[in-house]
């Protein structure tokens, strides 16, 4: 397992900006990026400080990656499924597992959650966003996992040793991961999550029904808010709650950029990344001395 002072999840402007400061402060820094993020989709950025000519998002990100590498930070591509804490942070990814003294979530803005009738109404009543937290309550029972990518497969792997039976529901999307043979995969679109007081099953758009005791939501990849919630950081809707130092309520866990909500601009992300870095430097140094 690779160990770092600081791990930054996300390689957008907030994450890379934070890495500049932590590397310059001589902290062993790793930036984990899943993909290039929202910024690289912007062709012309005309409102960023100091740019007389429009610059593309790709160019900004590539330059910034070069900059942080030259300062000694490591960059890697991986998708993080889970962050946990036990005298230090452990980050579980698709490719590897990492350890850090402080973690920054800079995962960008949250994806839209599925708007399936009944889903939000039954949250905490059979609808769960955290397999490792809630699997225990479904011992020997039948559950569904909503998703079609590696994150859904990861959540399934947490559930299978505990539950009686698990079904993967892709909600009309093609299966884009591999799941164990015993898992039934249903690709029909969902019409509703059903139950009075607690989840009793789902109805498909084709009229079919499936009885379930629980439904675990694992759409797309784990966003900042999902990772934060699993470790016990406060969220407000899809945003991670931070104080003025970009600290969450979990000691050593920070968040910056679009995942904290507010203005979705590079300047705000860069500023928050810098602030979070200062806090992490302080946090790590206090533990080294």
């Amino acid at each position: 397992m690779k160990a770092y002072d600081v791990i930054i999840v996300g390689n957008g402007p907030a994450g890379l900006s934070a890495a500049l400061y932590t590397s310059r402060a001589n902290l062993k820094t790793l930036v984990i990026g899943k993909d290039d993020g929202a910024l690289t989709k912007a062709d012309r950025i005309e409102n960023y400080f100091g740019m007389a000519e429009p610059v593309s998002g790709c160019e900004l990100v590539e330059n910034s990656k070069k900059q942080v590498k030259s300062l000694g930070a490591e960059l890697t591509e991986d998708e993080i499924f889970q962050v946990s804490w036990n005298s230090g942070f452990t980050l579980e990814g698709r490719k590897d597992t990492y350890q850090a003294k402080a973690v920054l979530l800079a995962t960008g803005s949250a994806r839209k959650s599925a708007k399936i009738p009944g889903l939000s109404e039954l949250e905490g009543r059979g609808v769960s966003y955290c397999a490792i937290c809630d699997a225990f309550f479904y011992r020997g029972r039948k559950v569904g996992v909503l998703g079609n990518e590696d994150y859904a497969a990861h959540e399934l792997s947490q559930l299978l040793p505990v539950v009686g039976e698990a079904v993967l529901l892709t909600d009309g999307k093609p299966l884009n991961t591999s799941v164990p043979e015993q898992v039934q995969v249903l690709e029909q679109k969902l019409a509703s999550v059903d139950g009075t007081g607690q989840v009793e099953g789902v109805t498909f758009k084709d009229g079919g029904k499936l009885d379930l005791d629980g439904l675990f939501v694992a759409l797309g990849s784990a966003g900042g808010a999902e990772l934060a919630r699993k470790i016990g950081a406060m969220t407000e809707g899809r945003n991670i709650r931070v104080d003025e130092d970009m600290a969450t309520n979990v000691p050593g866990l920070y968040a910056a950029g679009d995942c904290t909500g507010g203005l979705l601009q590079i300047s705000k992300a860069v500023g928050e990344g810098a602030k979070a870095a200062m806090s992490m430097i302080k946090f790590v140094r206090a533990r080294k001395n």
């Binding site: 937290c133 016990g232 950081a233």
Partner: protein, 103 residues
């Protein structure tokens, strides 16, 4: 007031028959968010005198967790006059718990 450990054995006397409202924190050792909820409940138990605070380990008291349909933790349940009067699921801030308690 210290937080009381609630079990199957003392649930009736400490919670159902309590003369004051009781806030029960359903938790487990393996639950990350519960480790953050615990200290908030500890703090509140020192500050709020009109409510009794209890922690219920779901691993050791599965029957009670099932009886009150706890399906996700942390779950905070406020008992008044022997009845579950309010339930909130997921990690709650100190302010949110205060609001739940009406203090």
């Amino acid at each position: 007031m210290a937080v009381i450990e609630i079990t199957e054995a003392n649930f009736e006397t400490e919670v159902l028959k309590s003369e004051v409202p009781v806030l029960v924190d359903f938790w487990a050792v393996w639950c990350g968010p519960c480790q953050m909820q615990g200290p908030i409940i500890d703090e509140l138990s020192e500050e709020v005198q009109v409510v009794k605070f209890g922690k219920l380990n779901v691993d050791e008291n599965m029957g009670l967790a099932q009886k009150f349909r706890v399906m996700s933790i942390p779950t905070l349940m406020l008992f008044k006059n022997g009845q579950a009067a309010a339930t909130v699921v997921g990690l709650q801030s100190k302010e949110a718990v205060k609001q739940l308690l009406g203090v």
